[in-house]
């Protein structure tokens, strides 16, 4: 009960932010009726999906301060569990998704244990390495379709398998995950683990002196992050209806996830959402408009890169860091 109350309790945010977030939620709920085109819808879905990924990454990467660059493997685990179970045994989404999350949790504990012996750059490179190893395994593993990937059978409109012919359903589906994610993160940041992680990030030695098992805390946060990402992965499977290791387990996906959260502002509730709200539309729209112009090839990415460099150099706490600096409080 207490946890639920905490999750819905946004009272430590300034009023203006609460109102802003309220308006934003209304906007999200009403979005399909605002007469947007379907590419807009598709971009919104990507935005919500990447916000979810970013929020997940934020537990270990933001609050825990561990530079984690291997989240794509969990996108893959979530997506593949749903896809393989549906293709092989016709198992509905609502059974395979929790199973996928469980597998992601189990796997994250398994590799988290050795992984968190490492610190700093060794850790960052190791997370990349584990993700690439898993991708290689999937590329060569015939049971899961190997490099060819898996196509999910089209089932028409069904809530059991979460397949729809209309994107509006998918939109509300991912919006539900997104809102659940926001509430969870709002609880998480105020939870014991949330505080302990931030202490570890500031000073691991000091954290240990306060009776915190730093490694175990990091593993737990890593597992939570992995579960989040696996949920997002399961959505990708039923949304795209085709997955292959290249598209769901790629290194660049891992980096994108971390990038959005960092750019928006790590270790803050709104950061990953802001990061995704800026980078996803920028990527999709710039890509879809400039991508077609031969003479401007590359310019879209240069703009994109310049923004990233600027933020990193002058506001290392991300875009939300600017706001936090002015209001003098972190949330």
């Amino acid at each position: 009960m207490g946890a639920i109350r905490e999750a819905f309790d946004f009272s430590d945010f300034p009023l203006v932010e609460r109102i802003g977030f309220g308006i934003f939620c209304l906007f999200l709920l009403a979005f399909p009726w605002l007469g947007m085109d379907s590419f807009g819808m598709a971009v919104m879905i990507q935005f919500l999906l990447f916000s979810l990924f970013g929020m997940g990454w934020n537990t270990i990467g933001g609050y825990g301060g561990q530079v984690e660059l291997g989240k794509a493997q969990y996108v893959g685990i979530g997506a593949y569990t749903v896809a393989v179970l549906m293709v092989r045994w016709d198992i509905p989404y609502w059974f395979s998704m929790p199973l996928g999350v469980l597998i992601a949790l189990g796997y994250s504990f398994l590799i988290g244990y050795p992984l968190f012996r490492l610190k700093g750059h060794y850790f960052a490179i190791a997370t990349i390495a584990t993700s690439l190893v898993l991708q290689d395994i999937f590329i060569n593993w015939n049971f899961v379709g190997a490099a060819k990937g898996i196509e999910l059978p089209i089932k028409g409109n069904t809530f059991l398998y979460m397949q729809f012919t209309n994107d509006t359903y998918y939109y509300y589906f991912i919006l539900a995950y997104f809102l659940a994610g926001v509430l969870y993160m709002n609880w998480f940041r105020k939870s014991k683990l949330g505080y302990q992680l931030r202490m570890i990030k500031i000073d691991e030695e000091a954290a240990e002196s306060l009776g915190i098992d730093a490694r175990w805390c990091k593993i737990k946060a890593y597992a939570i992050a992995s579960a989040f990402v696996a949920v997002g992965g399961s959505f990708i499977a039923v949304y795209n209806l085709y997955i292959d290791p290249e598209s769901v387990m790629h290194l660049e996906l891992s980096i994108m996830i971390a990038l959005m959260a960092m750019l928006g502002g790590a270790a803050s509730l709104w950061g990953p959402i802001i990061g995704a709200a800026i980078l996803v539309p920028l990527d999709r729209y710039l890509g879809s408009w400039l991508g077609g112009h031969k003479e401007l090839m590359g310019v879209d990415f240069m703009i994109y890169a310049a923004i990233i460099m600027f933020i990193a150099a002058f506001e290392p706490r991300g875009i939300w860091g600017i706001v936090e600096r002015y209001r003098g409080r972190r949330t």
Partner: protein
């Protein structure tokens, strides 16, 4: 026989990996920063060799010093224009920043040269191979290996035998203490970037002799360079050298073992897997890599 051949090819590749990783480890050693744009430096080194050898009509080997110069310039510009500011932030911001630099340089190349594949067609080394007994070795790779040895020797000499090197090492061990000793740490950082740029620029110039050139080429090598530097121990010159060779050997010998055992489970499709796995196993037991410093 096949194994011996694989071994030799692996060592040759290893020298190349080591050379590419050298700059990364120098920069890291001095200022604890991983340069994501390292692969893009390499790519620009390759383009330099390509453009110069085409426009001046000279042998691509002649352009090597210029490739090094371009690399150094690139290092300095990156340092003074960006990295200097990144140092104030946490590690996350540093990764973000150099990642931005990587994207920027890559697409700058796209903008300047387009996405075509280019290849140097004429040159002293291009397409030549060296036959020693039953082994056929790519001439460029042999030269590459030699230059790699030279580069490592020179860099080690600079770092361990000269005054500048002493200052560099002092900076890398303790920045504050070094600045009390009157060492201009800012300048040392810039020097590290310049040195890193030179080595990777030269590596790029050499690579251009047998590798195709296109804007995304950096990504292919940078992952290996990361694994090499991390395996050897961040900041360790010796580590980069041996880890590079180890990775080269692992990568070529491992699949051949599969071939000899007549099994398809072990094969080239897992050659990168084995490299990453090796890295993972090594650091789990030696969290600072093979030759990394204890803190």
């Amino acid at each position: 026989m096949v194994l011996a051949d694989a071994f030799i090819q692996g060592i040759l590749m290893g020298f190349l990996f080591a050379l590419i990783s050298l700059g990364l480890t120098i920069i890291f050693g001095v200022m604890d920063i991983v340069n994501f744009a390292h692969g893009e430096f390499l790519m620009l080194g390759m383009y330099t060799a390509y453009c110069l050898s085409i426009s001046l009509g000279v042998d691509p080997l002649v352009t090597l010093p210029l490739c090094g110069a371009v690399g150094a310039l690139l290092g300095l510009v990156s340092y003074y224009g960006l990295v200097r500011y990144l140092l104030r932030g946490p590690m996350v911001a540093q990764l973000l920043g150099t990642f931005g630099l990587m994207l920027f340089l890559r697409y700058l190349a796209v903008f300047l040269w387009g996405i075509d594949y280019r290849m140097i067609k004429k040159g002293l080394l291009v397409g030549k191979s060296l036959t020693i007994g039953p082994f056929h070795l790519d001439m460029t790779k042999v030269v590459c290996a030699l230059l790699s040895l030279v580069a490592f020797t020179v860099v080690s000499w600079i770092i361990f035998k000269t005054r500048v090197g002493k200052a560099l090492r002092a900076t890398s061990i303790n920045r504050e203490a070094a600045s009390y000793m009157g060492i201009k740490t800012e300048r040392m950082n810039a020097l590290a970037w310049a040195m890193g740029g030179i080595t990777v620029g030269i590596a790029g110039g050499l690579l251009a002799n047998f590798y195709y050139i296109y804007p995304m080429v950096g990504l292919l090598f940078v992952m290996i360079a990361f694994a090499t530097v991390a395996l050897g121990g961040f900041g360790s010159i010796k580590g980069a050298f041996f880890a590079g060779i180890l990775i080269g050997i692992l990568e070529t010998v491992f699949p051949i073992i599969g071939h000899l055992l007549k099994t398809s489970i072990i094969g080239p499709h897992y050659k990168m897997t084995i490299v990453y796995l090796a890295y993972f196993l090594v650091v789990v037991f030696r969290p600072r890599g093979l030759f990394g410093w204890e803190q």
